[in-house]
Structure formats: structure tokens, C-alpha cells
Amino acid sequence: MSERRTIAVLVENKPGVLARVSSLFRRRGFNIESLAVGTTEREDISRMTIVVKGDDRTLEQVMKQLNKLIEVIKVSDLSENSVERELALIKVHAPPAKRSEIIEIANIFRARIVDVARDSFIIEITGDEDKINAFVDLMRQFGIKEMARTGKISMARGSKT
């Protein structure tokens, strides 16, 4: 059975590490759904959050193969019991007649309007994937001119790291 899984990869912050990780996915035929990279509490270590589609066997191979990379420090499966967030910027068509309606929906979703132009808004929204998808669906009726999503980042709940 194919499902989406989230893995967090701690890597040494060195040039070429991202290429090594993405090359491994390509070479082994694993498909990346989303990939987010950023720094951690230590400047010499970066964290990648990768969403991959596949069954348990695929996920196990992905994790084992990632672990073999010299610059990979730790790989964890965050598919369950973790906090997930994504950020999206959405430029939506907003003529004066529609503005209050859009603002109302944005408020319900606790999204923020971060740029206002004559006939468009840029809206910033964070949340888990479902929330963002729901918001995007609602915005479609007004006309989405442009959208950028960061890809998911994720962290295990509780004291586990």
C-alpha cells in the first residue's frame, strides 16, 4: 500500500549534502513529494524534512540508504505523532467588492494579509497541510494569481528528539 510518509534528516551543514540526498532519492527510484531544508539549533547541522510516497518497505530502504550517507547524522520517521506545519503565500484576485469576504475567510483560518494592492492581496497562512489545502480551495473562487508553499516541516511530540 502506498502512502505518504514524513521523514526528518539531520545532516552536516556542508556544500553538496542536499545534492547527495536528492541524488540518492533519484537513483533508488524514490519519489520526493516535498522537501524543506533549514538550519537547526546548531549552525553546523541542517534539518531536512522530506515527504515521500511509498509502502513500509520503501520507507525502510529510504531510511537505511539515507543513513549510509556519511554526512547524514540521523534519520527519523515522523509520519505519526508529530506536529506538522507548512507556510504558504497566496496572491489572490481581490477586487473591492470581494475584499470583505476574503478578509472574513482569512480571519477564520487565522491567515494574515501581508500585502494589499489595487485588486489583489497576498495572504500568508501557516498550518498543517489539510488546513492549507482547505484554505486554497476556498480562495480558488476569487482567482489565485500565484502561490508559493514552503513544503512541510515536522517535529515529534513530547521529549523525543
Binding site: 541524488s23 549510509k68 550517507l69 556519511i70 547524514v72 547524522i73
Partner: protein, 554 residues
């Protein structure tokens, strides 16, 4: 100290005695430093051969093999050699020159992104962008190449880095936070494995290349004799146990012994040691050893469960794990199983049709074994490789050297060169095909130049024989592009043209004399055996089939 001198000094400190390579603009500085060193440099005639030679050297000795190449085409020529070493987990370090740092990325003369190119075929690689990191990089490279599951490491050296001035402080220790290979097996898993072994009625040991890498051949023998269990090997595992030992059933897989394959399929327990269950060994994954539980000992966790289901995985170094297991195992008679396997061995021996007028390739290999049973044997790839594997009974670990994973034609001859450089007093034989030998024939020049007395035995059938065999069996004899037409070609004359010795053999009665002559001459020798042209390798399990579906050719 000049960085280039520091590199050479670091190599000396790593115990490097031989380097194989070809100089060029970007790596000139290092070659200049090499001029004053005790390290012997062997100038090969192609960079691919330099890497194969370093690989052969590593496989024969267990030490790290080292190859040098310049930037651009020199570096790209190493790629097949590196991929070959990667697939067979061979510890080598390849150093390539690179254009100066300021020119990287500008498509400079002889620039190639060799770290990008070799990323998927190295265990790890480095582009040294800071001369202060140079020595740490070399230390890490040698450490990574030979620890855990060994493999090739490449270091790309920009020319201006090699010219820089640095302090020589060679690190004593390596600290890599993301690389801590586990060598000791988990005691609980070992106990579980021992319980399975004690319960088993039909146990078999499957020994792979990891046995050689971990120097665990004594432990394998001890385990086999203690249980007692028969031993089959993979192609890379040949030599894990002397093949003349009564418990050894030879190698299994596509061209393995029929009795070995059958025994595996009837076993109720497989103890797999340092092998990766490749398609060539296992046949159809889902039908492999259907009645058996599988214990899999491997230092690479990613190999466990990759191709076949495993009941008891043990991650660790084979030698250390086996030592722990042997302590707990007690001898148990399994007469019924032993009788059954002996019956299989009697019923399905390896065989070929002998001929008095035409040389059979199998006969040549048998004669090589008879006359030089302790020789180091390398092979090319194809029919020659399989006949060598079937008919040369390997007695010692590191005696049989072949490109198992990548299947690189042209590997055997330079690999033999590397082995011969390491062991100048032993007989080193490359069992070759005419197709494969032509792929690195230029190395005859190297052999003559450095007095490397490798013996090349060409099983010359004027075909790309293994491909022809598949065309015969699966494509109705439509021999598309497999005939090697060269009626005028004489390998004897070519050998002599290089200054080596050459012999042509056309009759079975001349085979023995030719081999004796070759083994006695202290010179590289090429023997061109004109063998039966349409001889096939049997037994043959067609690709993707179960090991029970063996073609015999009768």
C-alpha cells in the same frame, strides 16, 4: 610544506606502497612530489586500468588500493573502475586533479565535475576547497574506504590547492558524527540465530564477498564443521571456504552448481553471511529457498530485507558475529540431510562434453587449476568468467578476483596486474575472453614496462560469447552484433609486438605444454586458446526464474 608533498607524505603514513595512475596538467604538482617518494608508481596506459589495478591490488591484499588521474578526461576515465569497486565493496582511494579553484564552474580546459559524476558510485567523495582541510580529508578517505562496508572514495584536488603551503599535521583519529559502523552483533539476535540453527534439520551456509572483506574464512569453516552444515557461496564468496572441502557445494545462482542450487531450495535454514542476495545469486526473489528460514549477517543494515525476506537479521562484522555464534553452537548429526545432499551431488555433477579435436574452454580452466592450483585467478566477464568460476576450485580467500556486481569486461587483466604487483612471486592468471581482453589490451605495455608477468589465457571463440549464448537460447540464433570477425588477428603477434610473449594453441593436446611454458617464463604471456566457438555455459538458470528451473543443454 607544499600541499602536494603533504599528500605524498600522508599516503606514506597510510602505508601506501604502490599507486597506479597517469599524470596530467592538473595533478602535476602531486606527481612532482611523488618523484622523491619511496612509493612505487605504476604508469598504466588508461585511467580505467589504473583504477581496476588498484582494485585488484585491494582485493588480493585487503589493503586500500590507490589510483591517480588528472582532471577532465583523466577523471572521467576512472568512472567504470570506480563503479566496479563500488558494486563489489572494494576499498580504494582515487585522487583526481582538478582545475584551480577560481576556474571551477567556468568550463575550463580539462574540467569535469567528477565529484558530481561519481556521487552515486562512491562510498563518499570530496572536493578539497580549503587546503587546511586537505590532510583531514585524506585521513577520512582512507578510514571510510576500509571500515564498515568498504568502498571507493574519491578526492578531487584543485591544482592551486596542491600548490598551497600548509602545516603538516596528520590527524591521528577520525571523528565523523554521521559515520559509526557497527561491528558487534546484537547478543539477542545472535542467540535467536543459534536457536534456529540448533532446531534446523537442513541448514546451509551461504557465504558472500563479505567473508573475504571481514577475513572471516576461518570462522566460516569452523561454523560449517561445528553445526555441521554445507556451504554454498555467491560468486564473490568463492574462497570463503576451500572449494575442495567436502562441505563445500560450490557457488550458486545463474551458473552455479545444480546440486548447490537444489540444496539451497531444499534447505530449511539459510545462514547468509556478508552477501546481498543479488538477482544473479537468488534467481526469482519470491521463490528463493521457499522452505527456509533466513538468518542474514551483514555489516550494512540496508542490505537486510532489501531483496529477500529475513527472519533473523544480525547487523555486524561477520568475523565478530560468527565468533560469538560458534561459542554457543553444538554439533548435531543430520544424517538424512547429508545423505540427500550427497545424492544431489552425485546426480547432478558439473560436466561438459569432452572433445579430442577441439579445445573446450572448460578444459583449459581445469588445466590451469591442475598446473597452478595456488595461482591468483582474475577473470573478465561473460562465459570466461563463469567457466573460471565453475572449474577453478579456489582454495584460499583472496585467490579469485572477479567483477561480480557491475560485470565489467576489461576488468580482469588490469586487476591481475594489480594483484601481481602486490604478489610478485605468485602466478597470476587472467582467464579472459577475446572480447573482454580487447577492452584493456593496451595494458600489455604496462606489464612489459614494469616486468609484471601476468599470464592471460584467452578463451577465444571469436564471439561475445555470453551474449551469443543468450541470442542462441532466447533469440533463435539471431547473432546480432556478437560475432567478432577478425580472421587476420593474432593475439600472439600483438603480445610479441608489445614485447611480451605470445602463444597460439589450437589443439587440446597442446594446452598443457602451453600453460607450462607460460608459467615458467618470467614475462607477461598471452595464450590464445582457439576454443569451441559455440560452447555454452551450463547449468543455466534463465534470468528471473527460480533456481529449480535449470537448463542443462542436453
Amino acid at each position: 610544506m607544499r600541499a602536494a608533498d603533504a599528500i605524498v607524505k600522508a599516503l606514506e603514513m597510510e602505508g601506501v606502497e604502490h599507486v597506479f595512475g597517469i599524470p596530467g596538467g592538473a595533478i602535476l604538482e602531486v606527481y612532482d612530489a611523488l618523484y622523491d617518494s619511496e612509493i612505487v608508481h605504476i604508469l598504466t596506459r588508461h585511467e580505467q586500468a589504473a583504477v581496476h589495478a588498484a582494485d585488484g591490488y585491494a582485493r588480493a591484499t585487503g589493503k586500500v588500493g590507490v589510483a591517480f588521474a588528472t582532471s577532465g578526461p583523466g577523471a572521467t576515465n576512472t568512472v567504470t573502475g570506480i563503479a566496479t569497486a563500488y558494486m563489489d565493496s572494494s576499498p580504494i582511494v582515487v585522487m583526481t586533479g582538478q582545475v584551480p579553484r577560481a576556474m571551477i564552474g567556468n568550463d575550463a580546459f580539462q574540467e569535469a565535475d567528477i565529484t558530481g559524476i561519481t556521487m552515486p558510485i562512491t562510498k563518499h567523495n570530496y572536493l578539497v576547497t580549503d587546503e587546511r582541510q586537505l590532510l583531514r580529508t585524506i585521513k577520512e578517505a582512507f578510514y571510510i574506504a576500509q571500515t564498515g562496508r568498504p568502498g571507493p572514495v574519491l578526492i578531487d584536488l584543485p591544482r592551486d590547492v596542491t600548490m598551497a603551503d600548509i602545516e603538516f599535521e596528520y590527524p591521528e583519529k577520525v571523528d565523523l558524527i554521521g559515520y559509526k559502523p557497527k561491528t558487534k552483533g546484537h547478543p539477542k539476535q545472535i542467540k535467536k540465530a543459534v536457536d534456529l540453527i540448533m532446531q534446523a534439520e537442513r541448514p546451509i551456509i551461504l557465504a558472500g564477498g563479505g567473508v573475504r572483506l571481514s577475513n572471516a574464512h576461518e570462522e566460516v569453516l569452523k561454523l560449517a564443521e561445528t553445526i555441521p552444515a554445507f556451504v554454498v557461496t555467491t560468486l564473490m564468496g568463492k574462497g570463503a571456504i576451500p572449494e575442495t572441502h567436502p562441505l563445500c557445494l560450490g557457488f550458486i545462482g545463474m551458473h552455479g552448481t545444480k546440486y548447490g542450487n537444489y540444496a539451497v531450495m531444499e534447505a530449511d535454514l539459510i545462514i547468509a553471511i556478508g552477501c546481498r542476495f543479488s538477482d544473479r545469486t537468488v534467481g526469482k526473489f519470491s521463490e528463493f529457498a521457499p522452505n527456509a528460514k533466513i538468518i542474514h549477517i551483514d555489516i550494512d543494515p540496508a542490505e537486510i530485507g532489501k531483496n529477500v525476506r529475513v527472519d533473523v537479521p544480525i547487523v555486524g562484522d561477520a568475523k565478530s558475529v560468527l565468533r560469538e555464534m560458534i561459542k554457543m553452537i553444538k554439533h548435531k548429526q543430520r544424517k538424512e540431510w547429508f545423505d540427500r545432499v550427497e545424492e544431489l551431488r552425485r546426480k547432478y555433477p558439473l560436466k561438459y562434453k569432452r572433445d579430442e579435436n577441439v579445445i573446450k574452454p572448460q578444459f583449459v580452466v581445469e588445466k590451469v587449476f591442475e598446473l597452478a592450483p595456488d595461482a591468483i585467478v582474475t577473470t573478465e566477464v561473460g562465459q570466461n568468467q563463469m567457466w573460471a568460476a565453475q572449474y577453478f576450485k579456489v582454495k584460499h580467500p583472496r585467490q579469485f578476483i572477479t567483477s561480480g556486481g557491475l560485470g565489467t569486461m576489461g576488468f580482469g587483466f588490469p586487476a591481475a596486474m594489480g594483484a601481481q604487483v602486490a604478489f610478485p612471486d605468485r602466478i597470476v592468471v587472467d582467464i579472459a575472453g577475446d572480447g573482454s581482453f580487447l577492452m584493456n589490451i593496451q595494458e600489455l605495455a604496462t606489464c612489459v614496462d614494469y616486468d609484471i608477468p601476468v599470464k592471460v589465457c584467452i578463451l577465444n571463440n571469436a564471439y561475445l560469447g555470453m551474449v551469443r549464448q543468450w541470442q542462441q537460447l532466447f533469440y533463435r540464433r539471431r547473432y546480432s552484433a556478437t560475432r567478432l570477425r577478425y580472421p587476420e588477428l593474432s593475439f600472439e603477434k600483438i603480445a610479441k609486438g608489445f614485447g611480451a610473449h605470445g602463444i597460439t594453441v589450437e589443439k587440446p593436446s597442446e594446452v598443457e605444454d602451453a600453460l607450462k611454458e607460460a608459467f615458467e617464463i618470467d614475462k607477461p604471456v598471452v595464450i590464445d586458446f582457439h576454443v569451441e566457438v559455440e560452447e555454452n555455459v551450463f547449468p543455466f538458470v534463465p534470468p528471473g526464474r527460480s533456481l529449480l528451473e535449470v537448463l542443462d543443454g542436453e
